[in-house]
């Protein structure tokens, strides 16, 4: 579409994806993804809870940090590689709604462990063979 005289620029957001007409944004995201992969591997050798001065968090700090980096990588892929920056609002809604459902599922599952605590953990451990 970039070759058409009537549309010299990429269409405005929310009117269907055309994506960048040049390779530079893709190369930039690619570089960022490589750096973030190195960061996430590096984090696995560090005790994040001690690094941020909250040792009581233990392993949870590493898990949260790792998932934050993965979320950042995923956002870059969705926004640039998958053209969400130019996508129609209908298609944006479908993605957001799916992610909301994902959030509901993970929240409900996690509540078992946050609120029921040792009872739920014991029940799962028992189901796993009492390890």
């Amino acid at each position: 579409m970039s070759s058409q005289a009537s549309t010299p620029q990429a269409p405005a957001a929310g009117h269907g994806a055309q994506g960048p007409a040049h390779w530079q944004p893709y190369a930039l995201v690619f570089g960022a993804l490589l750096v973030l992969t190195a960061v996430t591997v590096g984090l696995s050798y560090v005790d994040v809870s001690k690094a941020i001065g909250m040792p009581q968090l233990g392993r949870a700090a590493n898990i949260v940090a790792g998932l934050l980096v993965a979320g950042l990588k995923a956002s870059l892929v969705v926004w640039i590689f998958m053209h969400m920056n130019h996508e129609t609002n209908t298609n944006r809604f479908i993605l957001v709604f799916s992610l909301v459902l994902l959030g509901v599922a993970f929240t409900v599952l996690s509540m078992d462990f946050v609120w029921l605590g040792t009872y739920a953990q014991g029940a799962v451990r028992a189901a796993l063979g009492g390890s």
């Binding site: 579409m1 970039s2 070759s3 058409q4 009117h15 269907g16 994806a17 055309q18 994506g19 960048p20 007409a21 040049h22 390779w23 893709y26 690619f30 993804l33 490589l34 992969t37 996430t40 591997v41 984090l43 696995s44 233990g58 392993r59 949870a60 590493n62 898990i63 790792g66 998932l67 980096v69 993965a70 990588k73 995923a74 892929v77 969705v78 640039i80 590689f81 998958m82 996508e87 129609t88 209908t90 298609n91 479908i94 993605l95 709604f97 799916s98 992610l99 459902l101 994902l102 599922a105 993970f106 599952l109 996690s110 078992d112 462990f113 953990q121 799962v124 451990r125 796993l128 390890s131």
Partner: protein, 197 residues
Amino acid sequence: MSDESQHHAILSPAFHADRRNLRAMGMWLFLGSEIMFFTAFFGAYIVVRSAAVGSVAMPLDKVLGALNTVVLITSSLTMALGVMHSKRGERKETGRYLAATFLLACVFLVVKAVEYTHHFEDGVFPSHDVFHGFYFLLTGFHGVHVIGGMIALGILWNRNRRGDFDEHYNDPIEMTGLYWHFVDLVWIFLFPALYLL
């Protein structure tokens, strides 16, 4: 230029945009259902890991996992560039980037096969423990998605060579690109969840 692409050239830009947006909607609905598919397995994995927090010594090879992450990210780049060239109607470049994406998918599966072989040689099968049950389940389903994407890439490469696509009509390449990036996305979460955290 094939008959099919000549046919597309006489249609209005608005028609092409509408058709593309509807196809993208179908693909995003499919990807939404795929998110739910992996949510089920990830959710079960969260429950198991929450119950055993601190007691799992991650047994997988971080180097091979990171290597495969780089391979898949690179394949996402080549896919995005293939889509970009297909939208410009540049057939030769499109074909090259589709082929590169296919080859990188092969590399990913070879590395995965090396990992699986190591596990089997060590006598580690899905029934070894709960962690490995999830490991084989999640990476296995992800691998099936990679193979499915490779089949689509092969078909597209042939259709592109045949001249089915031009700057007016390239929806199948863009939609396969969306699917391929999704496969990359799943791995972006699988890698830390299974290898690192």
